[in-house]
Assembly symmetry: C2
Homo-oligomer: 346 residues x 2
């Protein structure tokens, strides 16, 4: 192996309130001189960012252990195998996995804390393994289909609709026969994209419109499925307009992720009783054993033109923390990615 | 018919905050001189009180229309038919229905806003049709079995556990194989009753104990089913201790019923995501078509000694509003009833 240096972004301090670039620190370590049996060396090409990563920075019990101070920031990445002692992973293969905020990673393909490193099938654009064909697409797929269960002619509302998960979730509802799909997003650009590109029936700009009133107008018979990525007032507004026996899919709650103290919960939660509704949370890692079927469905819908996807691709490893912050600044349309290298082997 | 006067308690003003006796006003009207075809005249013997009645006093859209100012207060009652033009209801029959806070009621046995007036089967103590064999018992039955779905060896926690619904719900969980049933209630008397009489495995006195800590101690592997009648901090404490894939049955939220402004919702609701839990509301009226089977089960369990019930029976029609307030003062153990007359026909 050559005498490569591995640039890394490590957690420097636990963020208090809004995460800051200075909560992370850049380090360089030499890449290991030799690989153990079964190991392979990956050069990361793309880093993926999702709001849930903010939760991994808090020192609390959750569905995964917190990232420790001094540890390389946990993240999904796509890379290319550049050396290998593993017969299943050949030099030149594209792989995806939780390889973190670093330029190089050594893996053996076995299960880590959040899934394993896997080969990206030939013919698939590698970075799609971080967006519509990765955890994000699977989150939308299982959240909408297994928890939301939209039926023919249901009215479906998605918050954070211009985000990577929300945009896919809304389209899946349409594919499964929803009569009306409404997205809630921040700003004219995102709302226009939802309507013009993704064919949502309506988009509500929470920054300039009264969400509660618009939901009443758009859903006179109530919301059958509300897929929530946001929480806060938007969840409260939706609760006031649920249809009888409606389902609320709790996917995320980005509005509270950077709060120092947990904000109040949804004051209208007793509407769940009055309207006989269900509010259910889920974590996509529980569905990994069903991922192949889901990916095949997603790919089929993409090829059939029913499912569109978008990626916001920033450039440069030096911009890693800054790119993470874009999620909380509402800047991304579709999946937030960062390209940190070109494919080295062609 | 004799020249009877019908004492009534009508809604005088919509309560602001805690309901007061003075929100109701006593009236007397003559009982109608003659009955229409199919009508029968009932003398009410027992009035039933439940926390949900507080919600009917607010001028908001809900699962039933609000009680109007000047209207006789809506309530479940048990009475005896004293005159009848209806072949299905004979003089002397005991009946139950939503006959309200009045001494006499005229019914035709047809469906009203919340169910119809029905005959109480021979051999059943009439007032049990207002407690364990009435809407209360059915609420516990369907809430626990259809929403909570306790499985063998589940750990089940009930709030408002010494109330009419909670006490039955907890016992049903035990009958269905729960390994541990824990009740949360206010005060030593109620907690002792839960443990000594109803054989709950543990009781937590929220007035003198730290609920969160006690739940952690009693449920080291988490709560599988939380049957909530209370809301507020108790719901937040339970959310922090749910087991993975746990179910929260939203039956009521008495802690907020007398608040002028809706208090904050459960700030820990995102635990539903982290722990993959479901929080679901229901209204018992949706299950009335399955009531016969449920009543048969409840009666069977009572006769088998597996299901105990308790009624707190106050006396005197003049005490109607005062008795309603007992619910919010935490005074009742088991079902709150008021006896307003003796059975006139034996």
């Amino acid at each position: 192996m050559s005498n490569r240096m591995n640039g890394q972004w490590r957690l420097k301090s636990r963020p208090v309130g809004m995460v800051k670039e200075s909560d992370f620190e850049y380090f360089e370590d030499p890449v290991a001189e030799s690989l153990s049996d079964d190991d392979f060396l990956v050069r990361n090409l793309y880093l993926a960012f999702e709001p849930a990563m903010r939760g991994w920075l808090n020192d609390v019990k959750s569905y995964v252990p917190p990232v420790q101070i001094g540890e390389i920031m946990r993240a999904s990445t796509v890379g290319q195998v550049i050396e290998s002692n593993n017969p299943d992973f050949k030099k030149g293969d594209y792989v995806s996995g939780m390889m973190g905020w670093q330029e190089f990673a050594i893996s053996n393909g076995r299960l880590g804390v959040m899934g394993n490193t896997v080969k990206i099938p030939d013919g698939v654009t590698p970075y799609l393994a971080l967006s519509v064909l990765g955890g994000t697409g699977l989150t939308a797929y299982f959240g909408m289909l297994d928890i939301g269960k939209p039926k023919q002619n249901d009215v479906v509302v998605v918050s954070g609709a211009a985000g990577a998960t929300g945009s896919v979730a809304g389209q899946i509802a349409r594919i499964r026969g929803a009569s009306k799909v409404i997205g809630i997003a921040g700003g004219e650009t995102k709302c226009k994209w939802l309507k013009d590109e993704l064919q949502f029936d309506a988009a509500i700009d929470y920054k300039s419109e009264n969400v509660k009133e618009r939901l009443e107008q758009e859903c006179p018979d109530g919301i059958n499925v509300f897929f929530d990525n946001v929480g806060g007032e938007i969840l409260d507004d939706a609760l006031l307009n649920m249809a009888q026996n409606g389902r609320i899919v709790l996917c995320g709650g980005i509005s509270s992720y950077n709060e120092v103290q947990l904000p109040p919960g949804p004051k209208n939660y007793m509407q769940l009783v009055i309207r006989r509704c269900t509010m259910q949370g889920f974590i996509v890692i529980d569905y990994f054993d069903q991922a192949d079927k889901a990916r095949a469905d997603l790919l089929g819908w993409m090829e059939g033109g029913q499912l569109k996807h978008a990626e916001d691709i920033q450039e440069g490893f030096e911009n890693t923390p800054k790119t993470f912050l874009r999620l909380f600044e509402g800047k991304n349309v579709g999946k937030q990615l960062l390209r940190i290298a070109d494919a080295p082997i062609t």
